[in-house]
Symmetry: none
Subunit: 195 residues, 4 copies
DNA sequence: TATGAATGAGACTTCATTCAT
DNA sequence: AATGAATGAAGTCTCATTCAT
């Protein structure tokens, strides 16, 4: 094996360690020296692996995005009913809430770093969103994209709310509501279709 | 006699103009010089009205928070049915989407400026959230807090999603879904209570 | 009386009040706003009476210098023997030590504000020093300039030492030493001259 | 491997070079840019070695203080009689008058940088003064502290006088006076003790 | 005459980045 | 590959001074 493998391997290790650092202080507020210190290397070494702060941040964002869905999929058990599956997903986010909060903060930082148009046209982002959507669709066993988005929005909103307000609104409560409503809604749809 | 200026009045005017500036570049990225330029005053004048960048930012956040609900209340027509009211609220947010996106960005910036615990215990924030919740409850004519939160989360999540993905998920669609689901859910609740 | 008299009168009043302000923080550290506040006027008014900070400072220095010897002369009683007179002078400086410390600080600040050569050639300063020397000579009844300077140096040095070290070295002690030494010295001189 | 630089060594070198810079313009008037330029380094480097202007200034003051007595001791020949020793000390100060003038200016600047009480209770200062006093006592071979202070005051006062008035009062003259007076005084003391 | 809002140059300080070792 | 000293542009903030009222 050439050295390149080690280099790349090490780069990724550093990258993963960066996640907390960036999320905790924000892109603009954390300094390269702080990052280097947090990683236990010198600034020189940091720059040896990443050409610039911006680049480091984007690499982090991409890497993070890739690892996300894998993590969720791996962690989710296989529940039976729709309601159980929903509660499973919400519970998972509750369990790893700190991580998802950081994810949101990271994403907003990412957003602030570029021009509006760029964000919306950003391929990495698009792909990530699409994957996430498909993934959720499969998990829930729902096909109507509008309904999938409904669930995703509720979950994202819940995370955002709790980011600011703390534990005021419980995951379980909202999961149960969503479960019941979706079930009711889908039943009625079937009836109407049958008509 | 000094120059006749209503200090406090002028301070608020400057404050309101700051909103876009902060929201567009983010707290840490925009410089006081840029803000001053954007306001059409010198840095000296800026510091005459606000003792520091941080203070300016927090004053902005408070002022903004106060004006928000007023604006929504004023703009909202008086719809009849629950579904109409929901669609009204969503449509309003769609119409002023740019503003609400900035609001979210501002809020996240606000969040990054302080220690975690502080945010959650922050009185201004608590009050703002509470008001917003009560206000939404009244608008919708719903009393169950869990349901109110359900709606709020969906709306916030939708805004967040659209911030990153653009127009992929329409306001109207989600509003209609929420309307139908809530209606179905409430009907069923009545039946069960009746039992 | 024309208004000019009032103007000048007021100017001097302000000037005298400035002494403590300058002495306490130092020329460069105190701001015009602080001075204005300390005087109980606006910055505008301050600039109405003094064209610049530098000018204000120099006017202060000159005014102060003029009032000094008058104050000392007025305050000194008429002692008989040389030793008594010396102790009187030292005691007077001890009593008004705070004032003389400020005087020194002011003088050093004055010194730092200009080029070396200027200070030494400065007429105001020369005159002040000369007056002070003659004045002291008369007070002590000593004619040999070298001896007068001896006393002046001792006193200035004592003030400077106490500025930094506090009450470590007492005025009375040094005054007595000087008194005895001068007396002894003058007696011996007489004897030698008689020879 | 990093650049091989003895951090502490270099820090002290920079420190010593700062002395003239501070003394010539005064603490408040000289800028960090000017200091950096005077040292031949960038402002960044300056801040790499000293966390702030204030800290740089205090470090300078301490370092200077430490080196002073060493310099005097080293420079002083071994004179025999008291009068010779006094003249030696005065001559040394005359030879390095420019340096001692700067020392005084630096000390006064130091004084202006802090609260009054702090200065008098400052440990560094106390120690410096005490050392200086003991050192002078040994040089002169005088034990009575009052007499040592007498000499120190005279010398300090002479330096201060010459700072403002230039060469008006010669070192040699005052040294001779002090020599004679002390000798006379000590002789008389012996006689009185004998009685 | 008196006020204090307004100005903008310039102060101290930080920080992404480079580079000699 | 790794280090951390060095850089200097740029950030926040201050302050002597001006000027409309």
């Amino acid at each position: 094996m050439p050295k390149i493998v080690d280099h790349d391997q090490y780069r990724k290790e550093l990258l993963m360690k960066c996640f907390d650092l960036f999320a905790e202080k924000g892109y603009a507020s954390i300094t390269m020296r702080e990052i280097a210190k947090g990683l236990g290397v010198s600034t020189g070494t940091l720059y040896h692996y990443f050409p610039s702060k911006k680049d480091l941040f984007w690499q982090l964002f991409e890497e993070q995005t890739q690892q996300d869905n894998q993590a969720i999929a791996a962690a989710l058990g296989n529940a039976e009913t729709l309601e159980e599956r929903i509660e499973g997903i919400f519970a998972f986010h509750g369990k790893h809430e700190d991580y998802f909060h950081k994810q949101i903060l990271l994403a907003v930082d990412f957003y602030q770093q570029q021009e509006r148009e760029e964000v919306i046209n950003n391929e990495t982002l698009k792909q990530m969103c699409e994957e996430s959507r498909q993934f959720t669709a499969e998990l829930l066993g729902i096909k109507d994209p509008a309904l999938v988005n409904f669930g995703i929005c509720l979950l994202m909103g819940l995370l955002l709310l709790r980011l600011f307000e703390g534990e005021v609104v419980p995951f379980e409560q909202q999961a149960q509501l969503l479960g019941k409503m979706l079930t009711l809604y889908l039943e009625q749809q079937k009836i109407q279709e049958g008509t």
